[in-house]
Symmetry: D2
Subunit: 300 residues, 4 copies
């Protein structure tokens, strides 16, 4: 993301706990900052991306970064965090006169490198309009979801739906394969029917159906099961807050937990849920002859 | 379907238990037959569409229709039935030298009228090629799913996935609305993100988001909850036969049963599952203020 | 069961496809019959126990056993089958003047040997009263569930509840263990609290908590996962027939399917669902250190 | 609880935000304190019961109650809160030299009045032994669950299991009723079979089966749906913390949310989940003829 901003001619100061990442950006023409505080001083726009709610609250509130950001600056936090935390931090920024947007992304590392990310933005529309040109160097879809926190809410809703439809797609493919259908043929049919969805379009979970997706390279790369579970936690915490019934989303979360645990799959791509539903998915298409033999190698 | 065949210049003989339907076809230029037997005698191609497995077995086997069909004819059964029944009847047809395809459709009454149905076909490819020109007068997507019964398997897999992703979409919209998002805005975002799916593209379940869909006319018309539950039974029976875990599909079925029962919704469109997940969906977008008040009007 | 009847002084003629079983009964004093027909001729009471609905229909209707049973005899079918089949066969018996009861049992092989089975009986109360002394030689609880088929309905309801509460108990124990509790201590607490249930009383699923149960001998013996899945099919078919929402029961079934598939657990006792929920259950109590390492030993 | 301590001859100082409750205790012989601080000064044992984690943290830590409690005193917090909060507050007490136990109860208001509560206690066994005589004036089962927080963990595990088995019991009864069984007869059978559990023993959810339970008085009184949902949140938060798969518990939570929402049931007893699963449960036993007609009284 930083490299795309540099390439577009912007002056970018970068800070990260991982020095190699800073060095890589510096090599691309960014200035390397000694600290987060150093990076944001004098910045017109501050862009952050952190792992979880506690880091965002820690950095901006507890570590006091808000205090050193110029009130005329705009803060764009691209972390995926709890909507409530996003609202809280944006509110505290507002008290200091700083405009802050929550702008979680989707599109993965490939999207970040190619500048094809999707941004789901919460905050004032006028503020978004001001930084939109900047975001357009990093992404192709810039959605204004609503007020503060709305970007996070949109992201967690989307990812809860994604988890559910990936699991449901895996079940449909397993059911078809068990009935003798070729998973590729069934995928092609459902893709153009009412079962059509994003996984069938670009991220088929059955090995070998689609080239270049994690399912066709042993479920490596992609979006990890551990990260999907983390996103589902945000979604289901939001559901707890509002009391919304999300039975399908909750079941998807538990299937992912079962998958992580039984198949030690935390670091596989999330489309590997296919292996929970049908361990034979690694075998020859259409066969229930397991290509993968799951064994209890040792029992105390 | 018959009218589209007539319009394409084919000679069509029609029979149905409902005389008005026969009359409507006759008015369009079809010949009206006195019985199923009369309709199929001398036919080169026999096309049937019946409510359930027992009717297909009843008509072709028990009532002996196979015995009066010319062995050189091709039978295309467009009913949605159990894959096992489709295989059984096709096998009995084969014994008499008759080629039979299972060819369930999707696309609803609108698709039937406009000739834009999707056909999912099971049986020999060569037989399908022979009748394909005929099917193309009635539909735009003609998929060859595999051998006998494969059309039915593809259909039930697709509809199980559809039920699950409709319910999951309803949950995501409810969660977003509870978090203050406008359902239309959230739909637009998810549609172009990894949550994208057929319901968001053409069949949005939230009232008012999309024009011309059941959700925007009180969930009337469309594909009834009762019919979705029937299709889910076929899918889950197939899962029982093969022992395939289909937790998401099973939960979707039970949510539909709850919806039918608690909301007396059997004759509403299946996208009305939105009302189970969020009874406020009928109200103003983004509000939890219930537009629909569910009441126990009387308790013994 | 036959041996207990013999021991009580009754004249018993026995037939089974497995000759060793017949021989074992003969050694205990029963007469061995050459066929089912031979066994039932002249019998005052006919007692049968078969694997599934199709065998019961096959034996009594298709093979015509009803035709050779004396109309004054009483038939007691102890198979666990579909309520609808039980009603059908009992109705056909009635046409021949024969009183027939459905009387599925619970209590396992130990209950059969010790004469401590539970009978859930469907049919007329007066008929049950007539054979009750006989049943009391084989079991201790003889319940009159209602009219024909009611014994089967009671059995499938009970077993659906059992499957659900075994799975829920396994989850509660896993959650407690993950939180540092000793599963034995937690079991003792819940057993005497509102979480109390049959599994906690006599069939604890966590290894080592209770002596003499399958969980404490590697989940061998007991009631197999495959058989629980079969019973759940009967329950869920009944739910389909009546349209009853059984979301918990359906989820339990799918967890058992996942367990069978991922852990190759079809022939383990059904309390082994604990291993799906917490593969560490085999390890030291309270630890998440897996005692059992599940591995994909081979992937194509 | 206070009255039972007074009746046992202990000197009790009482404080509550609700003055009437303090007055009621004073009338029974307790001293009424002006504030929480006044109540705990000079106390040998401090017993608290608060609605949620934030109140416990607020009272003991933020409001500084720990600072005014004598280090030789023992604190017994009977609130049902998050295990992590219980551990945190107990840790802070320890720093001041104060022994603190978490001791959530079950048994409801009836148990509190009759002195028949169950206490699930976390903390050191020696500390529990010291206050055990006191607890025995208020309850009959005093369980030592383990170290700090273990009482809370035991309580949330128990209540998650309770919610799941109540919902599963409701499904089994609905399935039996749909199949023509009398719910009372079916309850009696399952109670003494492997489906046996606490709800069937003392808290049957079907109206009229058992006297004196909420189900037989319109689901009034008892343990509210809203409170069960709150307890499930604690359980499922703990599951999120440890990553434990709790599919059954999660589904139970979502069924309760659906029930609360669709039936406006937040203030009904939690056994009213029977009405979600079978709205006809209010009608005559064994009939699907709904005694309660659920209507959308108004739709915008």
């Amino acid at each position: 993301m930083a490299r795309n901003l540099v390439a577009a001619g912007h002056a970018v100061a970068v800070y990260d706990l991982v020095e190699d990442l800073v060095a890589a950006c510096a090599a691309a023409g960014a200035a390397s900052a000694e600290s987060a505080r150093a990076a944001v001083s004098d910045a017109e726009v501050v862009i952050s991306m952190l792992p979880a709610s506690r880091h965002v609250r820690g950095l901006y509130l507890e570590d006091g970064l808000l205090a050193v950001i110029d009130p005329s600056a705009t803060v764009v936090d691209c972390s995926t965090i709890a909507p409530a935390t996003a609202r809280e931090v944006a509110g505290r920024a507002r008290e200091r006169g700083i405009d802050m947007l929550d702008a979680p992304v989707s599109g993965g590392t490939a999207g970040a490198e190619n500048g094809t990310l999707t941004f789901m933005v919460g905050g004032e529309g006028a503020v978004l309009d001001r930084v939109r040109p900047l975001l357009e160097h990093m992404g192709v879809n810039i959605f204004h979801a609503g007020g503060p926190g709305a970007g996070q809410t949109a992201k967690v809703c989307n990812n809860m739906l994604l988890a559910a439809q990936m699991a449901a797609t895996a079940e449909a493919l397993a059911l078809g394969a068990a009935g003798g259908l070729d998973p590729g043929t069934l995928s092609a049919i459902m893709q153009r029917s009412s079962g059509g969805n994003w996984p069938l379009n670009v991220y088929n979970p059955w090995p070998g159906v689609m080239e270049g997706v994690p399912a066709s390279r042993g479920y490596t790369g992609g979006f990890l099961v551990d990260l999907m579970i983390k996103d589902l936690e945000l979604a289901l915490d939001a559901a707890t807050e509002s009391g919304t019934p999300v039975a399908m989303g909750s079941l998807a979360r538990n299937l992912y937990r079962l998958h992580r645990q039984v198949n030690e799959a935390g670091e596989l791509d999330f489309s590997s849920i296919q292996l929970l539903v049908d361990p034979a998915a690694g075998g020859k298409p259409g066969a229930q002859d397991p290509g993968c033999k799951w064994r209890c190698s040792e029992r105390v």
